[in-house]
């Protein structure tokens, strides 16, 4: 199925090869999912993520693949995990209130190691909050939302082009590491329309999960080679194994034995942490001679790019480190960005969810200033430049 899927998705990408298009962030994310081989979608309507669900409702039937609007977000992510275990590349899309409901089964996907992509287009919260306004308040929720200690992989786009690229990356990462991946966009980027040229089919790397190659009798579902990432058999292919949200042994059966529980958690974290360098994506703008560095992500990184341009026109040597990966937190890149600078400013649409991480990493060496905004609108470049007086 995987091979056929990749072909179908490839066709979608091919027909649009090299052609400039005006796309909305949500559309580009959907196209990225299809290009990466997404062949199952379950979702529930919510502003500002509904465009993805609607897009998938148009495209999935064309490809003969399942689309279903479930009764709520809990059911949507549940269906995705089920489909993933049965061999599909599954995705769901939601916003804050729905993302809160999904935390339960997100933890399930994490513990059974079901690859899938969860889109959260951030709007103002908590609760119903500001449904049609931009915010970045779910950054720590994406990291810690589901209970129990667990690793998290979270990508965050700042442009329509990045919506496509990071969605492909999200699926590939989910498949490679056998884990749910969170695609954390925001209302501005999701609704923004920009001209993009999608990459040609051949330029896209599409990764499929590793499936068992041994006969069913030899298959030990959670036993791994050196990679720490167990091979995943599709349900219904003769590998009659057990899947449970309880902590389980190598055979997949529940265990409470300390000598089995401890290695289980070690593997769950280890399979991600040993590949941190592949996962921590950042971009730099005018960093070489920057005296003051901006550290930002999502739509706010766009404000920062403008602030860098305008600041330099006025003689302020600004640079930007844009985080495309929020979790695992790109510690090395942030450390390097902070080293030897006069100060760092972290603008974000929350009360400091990433700035606290920057401060943690900085360890008191550079002046790190939080710049929070919580009024449902983007931070403007002038607002960032207005903070420069405090730095200089």
């Amino acid at each position: 199925m995987a091979a056929g899927t990749s072909k179908a998705a490839g066709k979608a990408a091919k027909s649009r090869k090299g052609q400039a298009r005006l796309l909305q962030g949500n559309e580009a994310a959907s196209l990225g999912a299809l290009a990466a081989g997404c062949n199952f979608f379950a979702g529930y309507p919510i502003t500002p993520a509904s465009e993805i669900t609607e897009y998938m409702s148009r495209e999935m039937p064309v490809r003969g693949n399942p689309f279903i609007q479930m009764e709520d977000e809990i059911a949507s992510i549940g269906a995705c995990v089920g489909a993933s275990l049965a061999g599909r590349k599954a995705m769901t899309a939601t916003s804050g209130p729905g993302f809160s409901l999904m935390q339960e089964n997100l933890g399930y996907a994490m513990i059974v190691e079901a690859p899938m992509v969860v889109v959260n287009v951030m709007r103002g919260g908590p609760s119903t909050g500001l449904p049609t306004n931009v915010a970045q308040g779910d950054v720590q929720q994406a990291r810690w939302g589901t209970h129990g200690d667990h690793p998290a992989i979270v990508f965050c786009p700042s442009s329509v082009a990045e919506c496509f690229e990071l969605m492909v990356k999200a699926f590939n990462t989910a498949e490679r590491f056998r884990t749910p991946v969170i695609f954390l966009a925001d209302e501005t980027v999701a609704h923004l329309r920009e001209k993009v040229i999608l990459p040609a089919e051949g330029d896209l790397e599409v990764i499929d999960r590793r499936r068992p190659t041994v006969p069913p009798d030899w298959y030990v579902p959670y036993k791994t080679d050196g990679s720490l990432i167990p091979r995943l058999a599709d349900l219904g292919e003769g590998y009659r194994y057990h899947v449970t949200g309880l902590v389980h042994d190598e055979r997949g059966f529940p265990t409470r034995r300390a000598d089995e529980v401890e290695p289980f958690y070690a593997r769950l974290f280890g399979k991600i942490s040993r590949h941190f360098n592949d996962l921590m994506l950042t971009k730099q703008y005018s960093m070489d001679d920057a005296e003051i560095v901006l550290i930002s992500y999502g739509c706010t990184a766009r404000s920062c790019r403008a602030a860098v341009r305008l600041g330099r026109e006025r003689g302020i040597k600004l640079g930007l480190l844009q985080l495309l990966t929020l979790w695992p937190f790109p510690r090395q890149a942030v450390e390097a960005a902070l080293a030897g600078r006069k100060a760092a400013l972290v603008p974000e649409l929350n009360m400091g969810q990433i700035s606290r991480e920057v401060k943690r990493v900085n360890d008191g060496r550079t002046q790190v200033i939080r710049h929070s905004k919580m009024d449902g609108t983007m931070i403007t470049p002038e607002e960032i430049l207005g903070r420069m007086r405090e730095v200089a």
Binding site: A42, P61, G82, S84, A86, N105, H242, T244
Partner: protein, 280 residues
């Protein structure tokens, strides 16, 4: 007990999972497990094409003993996972085992929508009138006035009739049986599993440890025997007056009709989508 040879048990249960099972002596879940594997064997299903899905609670531990693909999911959500599995691979026989709290409290919304959608799934709902695993708190099926660890002075809510609920919600097949009426239970399970569309079997099963003792219902054996007194076959049930129905319940097939399944109607969308796309 039944005509099926004991080797069925050997063929369909997992050998690498340690027995004895987790359930209390006198629990009905072991009987249901036997009934389920007999029904699967009699139906001639391929073990590789069957997936058992469960939620959380005592019933949630049932799939692990069966030698098929088994998925023990989150509390109340088993049907959502089963929906994903079935849509991903429509050729699979997907059977969901839930408890009364699992299916009708936390999972109540999923249950009615699964019935409405009529996806080709089988839902086995084990009704023991309580939350057995967590110590005997009241569930949506606990009778008015009954004692529970969260209703020490008697339960103050009326209860759900699971079968009636799922009939109303649109399930293609709904039956009720008990772990006392094993031959009938085998038949009901066989029919539900074979049925195209959403099939429900409500299985009454005693929880002596956490329900019977609180409500002074006697020994495990006495609780089991009480089903014999309370259960009335459908053909006789129809003839009973309301006074005679007091304290009793009907067993047998409550609904059995043909409706298009979700997958069938979805294929219509697929055809229309592909035709429109071809036209450009």
């Amino acid at each position: 007990m039944t005509a099926v040879h004991r080797s069925v048990v050997y063929d369909w249960l997992r050998h690498d999972k340690k027995f004895p099972h987790v359930w209390c002596p006198g629990c009905g879940l072991g009987i249901l497990l036997g009934s389920l594997v007999r029904s699967l064997a009699q139906g001639g299903y391929d073990k590789n094409q069957v997936v058992l899905v469960s939620g959380i609670g005592c019933s949630g531990r049932l799939p692990v003993y069966v030698d098929v693909g088994s998925v023990h999911t989150t509390h109340g959500r088993a049907l959502t996972f089963a929906t994903g599995i079935k849509l991903a691979k429509p050729e699979l026989k997907v059977i969901v085992v839930m408890g009364d709290g699992d299916a009708t409290a936390i999972g109540g919304n999923h249950l009615i929508h699964a019935a409405r959608r009529n996806l080709d799934l089988t839902a086995i709902i084990v009704n023991n009138l309580t939350y057995g695993m967590t110590g005997g708190q009241y569930s949506p099926t606990t009778p008015l006035g009954a004692k529970a660890t969260t209703a020490p002075y008697g339960h103050s809510e009326p209860s759900f009739d699971i079968s009636a609920l799922t009939v109303t919600a649109g399930a293609s097949f709904v039956a009720r049986s008990t772990v006392y009426h094993v031959t009938q239970l085998d038949q009901m399970l066989s029919q539900a599993i074979a049925k195209k569309g959403f099939g429900v079997v409500e299985v009454l099963s005693p929880c002596h440890t956490n329900y019977g003792r609180q409500n002074r219902l006697g020994s495990q054996v006495e609780m089991m025997k009480s089903y014999k007194k309370q259960a009335v076959r459908m053909d006789r049930w129809d003839k009973l007056g309301s006074a005679e129905r007091e304290g009793r319940f009907a067993i047998g097939v409550l609904a059995d009709h043909e409706r298009p399944t979700f997958w069938e109607t979805y294929q219509g969308s697929v055809d229309r989508a592909q035709a429109i796309r071809k036209e450009g």
